[in-house]
Amino acid sequence: MNKRRRLLLAVLLLLAGGYFAYNYMYKEHRDISSETSKLEISASYLLERYKTNDGDELLNTTITVNGLITQVEEGTVTLDSGVHCSLIDGSVGLVEGSKMTIKGRCIGYDDLFEIVKLDQCTIIK
């Protein structure tokens, strides 16, 4: 009887260990659209911060950016000619000149085009 109990306990422990190990190894990706943003900022000010080397702390954080759409491309929009946002749900129906508020993950400054890039973006309004 005692032996059986021990065996059962060992099996249960193994299962629990396996469960936690699996959950650790295959944990979910961050869901940027459900995260609360760390900062709300205008697109032109965000660009200004990067140009004056004041943007490093924003890397990999979720932020909300507002501005006017200056360019619409496949799956992306550019706000105030300085913040390039890759949208999860694409850019169909968006028009240049309209005001937008977008939440996304800041992935850094692109000095080829002098723009700040955001990915996994969703439209707030």
């Binding site: 961050r30 890397l59 692109d110 080829l112 085009f113 890039k117």
Partner: protein, 182 residues
């Protein structure tokens, strides 16, 4: 008559400078790399927001990838890639700067033509000279550049710990595609 000729000369000159100032750009180039080992978890990531500029008169080419933009299927792998190997908080950018040897925009057509890219890759704070072949085609004012090459982690001072080294290939296959528009 004289004024007509001068006008014509001016017109021709301005036309040729207009043509010479061709700058083809993209902000959504794709770079994918794979270092999978058979029968282990796939080690593969893709960045679909790579910037690139091609100056058509000189053949100069520059590309910039924000390293945080590389997405893996497995979240933990993405985390390890960023934190332990590529150290993307310390080195957020990876760049290529160089030239396409013998590039001539007028020689391009819809059928792919092979060219050689010569330049410097900057990754993880290390620079490396490379020479890689590329296929280039031109359709409707859109220059498509596709490259395939191999990089090794140690060339960029990226150390792979012994415990995982059997699960990550020594040669990392890189595939890049840029659709550059005027």
């Amino acid at each position: 008559m004289k004024t007509r000729i001068t006008l014509l000369v001016i017109l021709l000159c301005s036309l040729s400078t207009l043509q010479a100032q061709g700058r083809y750009v993209t902000k959504s180039g794709e770079i994918q790399f794979e270092a999978s080992v058979p029968s282990f978890e796939e080690v593969k990531a893709k960045n679909s927001g790579v910037s690139a500029i091609l100056k058509s008169e000189t053949g100069e080419f520059a590309a910039l990838a924000l390293v945080k933009g590389f997405r893996f299927k497995v979240a933990l792998m993405e985390e390890h890639f960023n934190e332990n190997y590529i150290e993307s908080s310390k080195y957020p950018k990876s760049t290529f700067k160089g030239k396409i040897k013998g590039f001539d925009i007028s020689g391009l057509s819809a059928s792919k033509k092979e060219y050689l890219f010569v330049g410097t890759i900057n990754l993880h704070g290390e620079a490396k000279e490379i020479e890689v072949p590329a296929m280039i085609s031109l359709v409707d004012d859109c220059v498509t550049v596709s490259l395939e090459f191999v990089l090794k982690p140690e060339e960029f001072n990226i150390k792979i710990p012994k415990i995982v080294s059997s699960k990550i290939a020594e040669d990392i296959n890189v595939v890049a595609v840029f659709s550059l528009k005027k």
